[in-house]
Amino acid sequence: MTTASTQTASTQTDALVIDGVEFGSRLIMGTGGAPSLDGLGAALLASGTELTTVAMRRYSPTETGSLFQLLVDHGIRVLPNTAGCFTSKDAVMTAELAREALETDWVKLEVIADEHTLLPDAVELVDATEKLVDRGFKVFAYTNDDPVLALRLENLGATAVMPLGAPIGTGLGILNPHNIELIVSRASVPVVLDAGIGTASDAALAMELGCDAVLLATAVTRAQNPVQMGEAFKHAVIAGRLAKQAGRIPRREHALASSAMEGRAEFL
């Protein structure tokens, strides 16, 4: 009993801390791909997320409802991104606008090389990270699954590094688990697995590899039942985190019986 309650307590205090802010959920949600604001709100609530990304675009008076207000109303902290930026210059300008509009100095920095791969452009990413850190931003750097680049971004002052599992929107899962583990093992800032997640087990794997959190959008918003999938991810992230902390058994080449051989009944 004592052990069980201690375990529960340790799970409850296992908060994700980013820039001094505590989050009870290790699932960061994106908002892209949802057909309606109402549906999105329901999926976000089901996922239990406490931090959610938004993009910055031209204001349209015909747009019904405010995404920012929806997040504020649900007590979800907003993480603006620089989605759609191909250059450091555009990303810095977008981050400045987001800081003004949403009154936060947190930014998910996304500098994309081309529309075909949507992969981060390392050169522009490094340049933008340097400039934004210099201007007082807390940079969440969306990066390739490259351990060298991830460490470089951290050394430039990134608040968190966000390596991709697979290209945005592919749902291919984690293509290079070894690199993700390597990034985690050397990082002293939070590592958030971002992009490529297809289903719940991918998110659980990310946590088992040691990531501090998982960020996903389309896996939920474009699922056939987004609310149900949001809930699935909520549990997957918790399960993966617990499994990581619990310490998995080593992999073995040959079978190892779990039942003792001694004391077997003998039959004629």
């Binding site: 994106g30 031209r58 204001y59 405010s66 207000q69 991104n81 606008l97």
Partner: protein, 78 residues
């Protein structure tokens, strides 16, 4: 005066400030600190000729003929 707003032509009174424009576009009353008077988040940012105009400067920033304004807000993405 004529300005460009989010890439389209727009006509405003000659004494318009950034606050006037934001109020006009969002249909909300904006106070001198750049916050919506209804107490809800207004959630927009303004760039004038590719320079961000801080919320606190909206009231004091007069617009001029030919200015290029961008007003952005949070939308679904990422």
């Amino acid at each position: 005066m004529n300005i460009k707003l989010n890439g389209a032509d727009h006509t405003l009174s000659d004494d318009a400030s950034v606050t006037t424009l934001v109020s006009h576009i969002t249909g909300r009353v904006v106070d001198s600190s750049g916050q919506a008077a209804d107490g809800r988040k207004i959630g927009v940012a303004v760039a004038r000729n590719s320079e961000v105009v801080p919320r606190s400067q909206w009231a004091a920033t007069a617009l001029a003929e030919g200015d290029e304004l961008e007003i952005v807000t949070a939308v679904q993405g990422g």
